[in-house]
């Protein structure tokens, strides 16, 4: 179902979609929808909601593709950011009440292992991010990862780790700044 496009091919297809080319838009969908559904499903833990959000995401992508700038962002990053933000918006809108039936399915299909088959991002970028995350202490790196993958807020992370809110904030803020310094070094 999903086809593999290189970053340049994906950027090109996205650019064409921005000019109204539906065939190119379809190629973007084929190449990225499984990844984006993984992202939305991990946050929403409900397949139907996650697919609803996926649908919204691609309609947004269609409308905004014209503003995608390949010189400033990688295409998969741009797409993941839209999908993730949409899923989190839905999660926090309170509309995500039907998560009971499929939560197990969701976690069965989603794991933290790398997924080389879908490595649309360059391997170097990912390796670097992982290296830099690895330099943080485990709980900080873990909290940042959980915040990203599950869309958890400071509040949720603090109660999960059973630490005061201020402590969690301090971990993540310091962690983010160290991560950034490492990525830019």
């Amino acid at each position: 179902m999903s086809s593999i496009l290189t970053r340049d091919e994906l950027a090109l297809a996205l650019g064409r979609a921005g000019e109204g080319d539906r065939a190119a838009f379809r190629r973007v969908y084929e190449a990225t929808s499984a990844k984006l559904l993984g992202v939305t499903l991990r946050i929403l833990a409900d397949r139907q909601l996650a697919e609803d959000v996926l649908q919204d995401t691609y309609l947004t992508v269609w409308r905004k593709a014209g503003s995608f700038d390949a010189s400033r962002a990688s295409p998969i990053t741009w797409l993941v950011t839209i999908a993730r933000n949409r899923a989190i918006d839905r999660l926090r809108s309170g509309a995500s009440t039907r998560r009971s039936t499929t939560i197990d399915d969701a976690f069965e299909v989603a794991d933290d292992g790398p997924s080389p088959a879908q490595a649309l991002e360059t391997g170097d970028d990912i390796r670097r991010l992982n290296d830099c995350l690895g330099q943080l202490d485990d709980r900080t790196g873990g909290a940042i990862r959980t915040a990203f993958i599950e869309g958890a807020t400071y509040d949720a992370l603090a109660s999960r780790e059973n630490v005061p809110l201020g402590t969690m904030k301090s971990w993540i803020r310091r962690g983010l700044l160290r991560l950034r310094a490492c990525l830019e070094s």
Binding site: T81, V109, A110, Q118, A152, Y154, R173, R180
Partner: protein, 243 residues
Amino acid sequence: MTDPTDTEGLDEDRALAGELALRVLSPAEEAAARAREAADPAFAAEVETWNEQLAGLADGVAPVAPSPYVWPRIESGLPPVAANDNRRLAFWRAWAVGSTGLLAASLAAVVVLMAQPSPVPPAPAPAAPVAVTRVATLTLENGAAAMTIAYDPASGELYLAPTDKMAGDTRVPHLWLVMPEGGVQLVGAIDGSATSRHNLGRALSGKAGQANAVAVSMEAPGHTPAADKPDGPVVASGQLQRL
């Protein structure tokens, strides 16, 4: 607001941008940060950088193939486009193909909706508008018709009938009055995807009664040009005629 354990303002901004990108803030904090993002380009760029750098974390999420019905749903949510599914400008360039019937139908609707007997010649004073309905067919550079409008000076009501194909353009169409003494006057952004009705305010209504032509420019999303000068290209125009 500043966490005393953290460093200077630069780091403070950078951390806040990271928190916003990561979506860890409370709803109130997030709303404040979003407002900042909208008003402060440097901060917005910082958020974008964070998005770029954090998105690699999604590599740890396993892909899941969507159900087969998802794509058809997306496709059915797309605006209809011209048969030759190519470029953004396809609408403007190739509009004429197959659109004559549509335009005729639009024009017929305009006539039915707007026509009223009105033997009085138009007076220039906005205070005394007369009921002569104006219509214009806006055409592209190549002569193909793009949109029909009708304007009733008595009620100030403006009726626009674009084709459904205009929605394929990511820019936002803006309607302009072309004044007899030269110069243009912005009416406003218009819906390029569906017929719409507007009621012009008194000031504009008077000008619309005097205008001898209308034009459409395509402006960048979110951008409002000055009232007397389009910033985007003028893609269509047409003479206003009395019905």
